[in-house]
């Protein structure tokens, strides 16, 4: 029997650029050409001013740990305890993720600590943007 896997995202036409990006090691965000605000999750228009003229750009992949919980119950594809985290990117938007290369404890998971993207390949199509503490 194959090992249980975490839920697999299914890209849509509006989000394809994001998943194409993670596959080649880029965290891609969008920015409005009119009001210049960066936003997430992906959509083909600006959620701030509704302009349809928007651009995809490669984000720095850097941010800080914004909030999280540490789940203590079993979930297929995960070994408890594991943190379900929200990272605030340097560009502004926040996204849900997991924190890797770090003990899953309140002592190690310190709010506002710097983190950087760490791509985790699920299969040929999907690579997830996870994050790890910035060393040093």
């Amino acid at each position: 029997m194959p090992e249980a896997q975490r839920p697999r995202p299914q890209p849509t036409p509006e989000t394809r650029h994001f998943w194409d990006g993670t596959k080649v090691g880029e965290l891609r965000l969008q920015r409005c050409d009119a009001c210049r605000k960066a936003y997430f999750p992906p959509r083909p228009f600006c959620p701030h001013c509704a302009a349809r003229e928007v651009s995809v750009f490669k984000a720095s992949g850097k941010g800080r740990l914004y909030s999280y919980v540490i789940h203590h119950r079993p979930v297929p594809g995960f070994t408890p305890p594991y943190a379900i985290a929200v990272v605030e990117l340097d560009e502004g938007p926040r996204l849900m993720t997991n924190i890797v290369d770090c003990p899953q404890t309140p002592e190690a998971l310190v709010l506002d600590m710097p983190v950087e993207v760490a791509f985790e390949r699920l299969d040929d199509e999907i690579t997830l943007p996870l994050f790890r503490p910035v060393k040093g």
């Binding site: 919980v69 997991n98 709010l111």
Partner: protein, 380 residues
């Protein structure tokens, strides 16, 4: 809505609460609806408007033998019923219908014929939240609270006190699921679910239902029960993704719904005798007290710690024991409304003496939606 123009004249929960293996989800809707119609002295032929969530209004109308000329299937989670009350008030006031039935039923524990919308792996949550391992509300609703704790210095002990105080209210309520007193240590020693939340800071999972019947003020005195008048209503939504909340220390949907209801009613916070804030988890009364304007930002935990919301306090909160101790079927908002109606009728198990004005505030999803209803037992 003009304050006082609409009244609740029928209100009831299911005959049983807790574990109800003999009724399916639609059966719980019906049991509550039949109890509410009996409460109001009405028959199905008298009902011309239907609103519900969980089941569709089509199913409920068919099952109960109703012929509605107004329907509302707003389903935005546990506060759907507050929003139904608001929509029903507007519909009655504008003449779309005259007698609205709002039903809820949920086989949360027994899981008999429960309808649960599946989240598509291509939806926003399916792509950008589910792959990271959340498993239901205990792992999602709770995510903002560490940010709140860091911002305002909320302590684990203060967060635990929310559960302790609500258990004090539950102890006065024979229908409450949990009635034994607990301490802050009990809460902090209970099983870890999703740090920083432990078992006693998470809501129950039970079976149950409830229903309400609304008519215009002009007709309200023709019913057997003391009418409960609507003074103000509010509703809003924010995001289906908790990770995308604008502010992790405050709910935009709470602020919008609450401010609208208060403005419509013309009351001040000082006028409020009784308060319900949907408590799926222990942090919700804290967010609610602040976002509704009862406390300044960062002050609600201390307000609760100092027993202002406890029995004997100046602002009785969640007097049925709440979702943490009374019951929680999944969409708890209906039970908060039922307790506000009981308090306004003067028949609550933990009755607030002389209470004339109740504020009832609901949440849907994980801070996704909100509805606020302000009611009074004083005829306009």
């Amino acid at each position: 809505m003009k304050p006082g123009s609409i009244a609740i004249v029928g209100a009831a929960e299911t005959t049983e609460l807790g574990r109800i293996p003999e009724l399916s989800q639609i059966g719980l809707h019906a049991d509550a609806a039949l109890n509410a119609m009996k409460d109001a002295g009405l028959k199905p032929a008298d009902i011309d408007g239907i609103a519900t969530a969980g089941e569709t209004p089509v199913t409920v109308a068919h099952y109960l033998g109703l012929t509605p000329k107004w329907v509302d299937g707003t389903a935005v989670g546990g506060c759907s019923f507050m929003i139904h009350v608001r929509h029903a008030a507007a519909a009655i006031e504008s003449g779309l219908c005259s007698t609205v039935l709002i039903t809820h039923g949920e086989s949360g524990r027994s899981g008999i014929a429960r309808t649960r919308p599946a989240v598509s792996p291509g939806s926003l949550q399916g792509q950008f939240e589910l792959p990271y391992g959340p498993m239901g509300p205990p792992t999602l609703f709770t995510i903002p609270v560490l940010r709140y704790m860091k911002t305002y210095g909320l302590t684990h002990e203060q967060l635990a006190m929310v559960s302790v105080v609500q258990r004090e209210w539950a102890a006065k309520n024979p229908r409450a699921t949990f009635r034994d007193q607990i301490t802050v240590d009990d809460v902090l020693n209970s099983r870890m679910i999703a740090y920083p939340f432990r078992l006693l800071q998470c809501c129950l999972v039970t079976d149950g239902g409830g229903a309400l019947i609304l008519v215009s003020r002009e007709r309200a005195k023709d019913f057997p029960r003391k009418p409960v008048y609507l003074l103000g209503t509010g509703e809003s939504v924010e995001t289906p993704m908790v990770s995308q909340m604008e502010d992790f220390t405050s709910s935009r949907a709470f602020r919008v719904a609450g401010a609208k209801a208060f403005a419509e009613s013309g009351i001040t916070h000082r006028d409020v005798d009784h308060l319900m804030i949907y408590d799926a988890f222990a942090h919700l009364p804290i967010y609610g007290l602040e976002d509704l304007g009862f406390c300044s930002r960062g002050e609600a935990a201390r307000f609760i710690w100092e027993r202002n919301t406890a029995p004997g306090g100046k602002l009785p909160l969640n007097t049925n024991g709440g979702g943490l101790s009374y019951m929680h079927s999944g969409m708890y908002g209906m039970y908060a409304l039922q307790e506000s109606v009981r308090q306004m009728r003067g028949i609550a198990p933990a009755q607030v003496p002389g209470a004339k004005l109740s504020v009832c505030h609901g949440v849907g999803g994980m801070f996704a939606a909100s509805g606020t209803i302000i009611m009074t037992n004083e005829a306009p």
